[in-house]
């Protein structure tokens, strides 16, 4: 896996992905031409080889690598599937088509490299990500889940039929879906100063209604629960390319905390990938201390919540003082609160009082 510079140009990245896929093919072709069983080497994704790197604040793979060879009877089938996946990805990218994991599973059957089941084909796609060092979204395999964005950002499409067409993301009051077309669009201009990511759809709509984007010069992003990888990559780009600070608002419980954390530091499952994290993003609420300070209506933490909290307490991503303090506070008060809880003070309280206070506090 190569380390990549942050790619500002979507077109540039696409070229790189295609070049890498071709290189992979050339390498295998060369091996076979020399009468050698084709083989590849890639970093091991086994649990012993996943480490947290405090410098870049995300999980990374260690030095261990695995060698897959078509000479091995147990490897030859997955090896074939991997080469097919590369071939398929190359076709997709070259023809500017998109696909999903489900799609990949069925498409394989047309090439007589059928997968036993969906998990098997998903694993092969993850292998391909590991081999070429790009997320599957970069070779046009997108997730099913969709999240949304709203705010004054003008983009320029690169997808077929829309090349060069510009679009302002404030044009639709429900927000714009972060799908393949938006993910592969270039950023043109923005007046925004910050990005606010919101866990829940209800609150996202309230923020738009209450003109949060104008009041705070913000781009609003709906994560819809755990943010899809395309959305995490999009947030990463907003942060890197446009240098916008990112603030994340979630429910006040261990699960909400973790939604924020995955946007910030990523997950162990994606240790083989870069450009999916935004280490400088801030979790702005709802904190355990907010529940106390704002006297929010709350529920008791369940056994599962508490178990999750103690897991997070030991997680290297949660080493920071803020995280540790909030985990302790949760455990102390044994309460949790949803974002909607602020409605007890009126519908606009969260926008008028809470939001500015927290943005200030986490700046």
């Amino acid at each position: 896996m190569k380390k990549k510079e942050t790619e500002t140009s979507v077109a540039g990245k696409r070229k790189e992905v295609l070049a890498d896929l071709t290189d992979l093919g050339k390498k295998l072709y060369e091996q076979m031409s020399q009468g050698v069983f084709p083989w590849i080497k890639m970093p091991s994704r086994s649990i012993e080889n996943i480490f947290y790197n405090p410098e870049i604040r995300q999980y990374v793979l260690g030095d261990k690598s695995v060698r897959r060879s078509a000479r091995n009877i147990r490897h030859v089938k997955p090896f074939t599937q991997l080469v097919w996946a590369a071939y398929f990805a190359d076709e997709l990218s070259r023809n500017r088509k998109t696909s999903t994991l489900r799609d990949v599973y069925y498409s394989a059957q047309a090439y007589e490299v059928a997968f036993k089941d969906q998990p098997e084909s998903n694993a092969i796609i993850t292998d391909l990500e590991t081999v070429i060092g790009y997320a599957r979204e970069d070779f046009n395999v997108f997730p099913e889940e969709r999240s949304a964005i709203f705010g004054d950002l003008t983009i320029e499409y690169t997808v077929p039929g829309y090349e060069g067409k510009q679009y302002n993301l404030m044009s639709h009051p429900d927000g714009v879906m972060i799908g393949p077309a938006l993910t592969s669009a270039e950023f043109v201009k923005t007046t925004a100063d910050i990005v606010i990511a919101i866990e829940k759809g209800g609150l996202f709509t309230r923020f738009i209604e209450e003109q949060v984007h104008k009041k705070y010069n913000a781009l609003l992003i709906l994560t819809a629960g755990q943010a899809p990888r395309a959305t995490r990559q999009f947030i990463h780009r907003l942060n890197k390319e446009l240098e916008l600070p990112v603030y994340i608002f979630t429910d006040g419980d261990p699960w909400g905390m973790h939604i924020a954390m995955v946007i910030i530091s990523g997950s162990a499952n994606a240790a083989h990938l870069r450009d999916l994290t935004t280490p400088d993003a801030k979790w702005s609420g709802v904190w355990a201390t907010d529940i106390v300070n704002y006297k929010l209506p709350s529920d008791e933490l369940t056994q599962i919540d508490i178990k999750r909290l103690s897991e997070l307490q030991k997680d290297p991503r949660y080493e920071g003082a803020l995280w540790q303090k909030e985990i302790k506070q949760f455990m102390k008060i044994k309460k949790k609160a949803e974002q909607e809880a602020f409605s007890r003070y009126g519908l606009t309280y969260i926008v008028d009082e809470y939001l500015p206070a927290k943005l200030e506090e986490t700046r």
């Binding site: 093919g25 050339k26 295998l28 072709y29 076979m32 078509a70 030859v76 074939t80 097919w84 071939y87």
Partner: protein
């Protein structure tokens, strides 16, 4: 040449014909064919010529077996009337013995101690007797020992006096020096119910007598031919003396009646198997019997004691097997190959052993695959002195042994096409009934059967393991043959190359790895 002697007479069997295997019209017709076929096989074995046996069963009163119009008495629930004709190329019967051999129950050549198919000198005559009492018709016999004459008799049996009645006698010139016997008589029976067993019997008989040509024409004129695959006939058994462990008081009494010995030392030496001068001395000393005593002077009490001491004395030599005629591994294999056409055969002949003074040899075989059908359970073919045993399978020692074996150890599981053969030959096969249908659970016999089956089962296991290995390797190769070309194709597409790389060498190397047993 056979020796003949009369031992007993009885219409006992007329009244108790059930015990000889004539329980029903179905069994009667099966038993008749079987007894006469076995006599014929014994007769040709005696000459060491490959058997040539012709069996014809036709509706009674019809000249032409092809004619299918049944003339049978429909009210008769006991079955139809048939005419049975059996021809062989055996030793033939000396003319003066012909009437008694076919018209006198328990007269025969099989009371000496050597292995033969029949045991009681009963079966053939029972068939004739049965025919007579069901149809009131005489039996016709033609026989020659290869001399210049053929003797033809028409006989019936005087049941009460156990004597043959000669109705007609003819002598013909034997121009071609034919030897053999032809028997023809009528009987009632139920052929169609008996048919499956008869055909199974003939098939198994052909299997265990691969040097025999057996032809059978059934009442509908259907021809069944079982051809020989070899002309090699196993060595004939030698007649032997009784072994001391196997005699009883009655046997001793009979020997005393005929003996010419005038002292016990000679008596022991002369009349018993594997007893020489030293053994004789040692035994008489052990039994505290005076060596000079005249055996004719033994009192009944002393005879009983003599038999008891014989059983207790443990220094008699075991019986030898010269009186036995096993089939041999080569013939057994040939017979199985011809009748079952399997993919794999293993055969085993055990060393001679003995129970109660009777020598015996166990031969086993296992056959797998090929034309053998897949069955839930292992098919067992049982033979005793080269005759198939078809009834009472569950009680047989071989079947019990097979049930006790853990077949998974030998890679044999339910539903596999497996046949096991067990052949026990002995001067006295330990049958449990007069009907000669199954072999008793003698520990000595059981242990030999078990070891024999284990031996062939191990060979089957080896075969199955080897095949499993080959199968695995074949699969290996097919995996590589399936995927390597695809890798080549997709890589070529990815690399934007025109021509796919040549992967023949890679596939070849996979094959080579297999041969090395990687």
């Amino acid at each position: 040449m056979a020796t003949f002697e009369e031992i007993s007479a009885a219409d006992f069997f007329y009244r108790n014909r059930d015990i000889a295997g004539f329980t029903s019209p179905t069994r009667a017709i099966f038993s008749s064919i079987r007894e006469l076929v076995e006599n014929s096989l014994d007769a040709s074995d005696m000459l060491r010529v490959p058997s040539e046996i012709y069996v014809r069963l036709s509706y009674d009163g019809e000249e032409n077996p092809e004619s299918q119009v049944t003339q049978v008495n429909q009210e008769d629930e006991e079955g139809d009337a048939y005419q049975l004709r059996i021809e062989d190329n055996g030793s033939g019967i000396p003319p003066r013995h012909i009437p008694s051999a076919f018209g006198q129950v328990l007269f025969g050549s099989k009371y000496k101690l050597k292995q033969s198919r029949g045991t009681f000198g009963l079966g053939g005559k029972m068939a004739i007797l049965y025919g007579q009492i069901t149809t009131h018709k005489p039996v016709q016999i033609a026989s020659s020992t290869g001399s210049s004459k053929i003797y033809q008799y028409k006989l019936s049996i005087d049941i009460q006096r156990n004597r043959p009645i000669i109705l007609d006698r003819k002598i013909r010139i034997n121009k071609e020096q034919w030897h053999g016997t032809i028997v023809e008589f009528s009987l009632e029976g139920d052929y169609y119910r008996a048919m499956p067993k008869i055909l199974e019997y003939l098939k198994q008989t052909a299997l265990v007598n691969p040097y025999a040509n057996i032809t059978f024409v059934d009442p509908k004129g259907r021809l069944y031919k079982f051809n020989r695959v070899t002309t090699k006939v196993p060595s004939p058994p030698k007649e032997t003396l009784p072994h001391p462990y196997g005699v009883d008081v009655e046997t001793i009494k009979r020997i005393i009646q005929v003996t010419e010995c005038r002292n016990m030392l000679d008596f022991m030496r002369t009349h018993f198997h594997r007893v020489g001068e030293i053994t004789s001395h040692n035994f008489l000393e052990f039994a505290q019997i005076d060596v000079t005593k005249d055996p004719r002077k033994l009192k009944p009490r002393e005879i009983v004691k003599l038999v008891q001491m014989m059983k207790r004395f443990n220094r008699f030599l075991p019986p030898d097997a010269s009186c036995l005629s096993p089939l041999g591994e080569e013939l057994l294999r040939a017979g199985i190959l011809k009748e079952l056409n399997p993919e794999f055969i293993a055969v085993c002949q055990r060393k001679p052993s003995a129970y109660s003074g009777h020598p015996f040899i166990v031969e086993t075989a296992i056959a797998y695959g090929g034309s053998i059908p897949q069955k839930e359970e292992i098919t067992v073919y049982r033979f005793a002195n080269r005759i198939p045993l078809l009834y009472d399978e569950a009680s047989d020692v071989s079947v019990r042994v097979i049930k006790e074996i853990n077949w998974r150890r030998y890679k044999v599981s339910s539903g596999m096409p497996v046949v096991i053969l067990v052949h026990v030959c002995s001067t006295k096969v330990p049958y449990k009934t007069v009907g000669k249908e199954f072999i008793a659970d003698r520990p000595e016999v059981k242990s030999e059967v078990l070891n024999g089956i284990r031996e062939v089962a191990r060979q089957l296991q080896l075969f199955l393991s080897r095949r499993e290995h080959v199968e695995k390797e074949r699969k290996r190769l097919s995996v590589f043959s399936k995927y390597l070309p695809k890798i080549a194709k997709f890589s070529t597409g990815l690399a934007k190359e025109e021509k796919e790389p040549n992967i023949e060498a890679l596939l070849k190397s996979v094959k080579k790895i297999e041969e090395e047993g990687d």
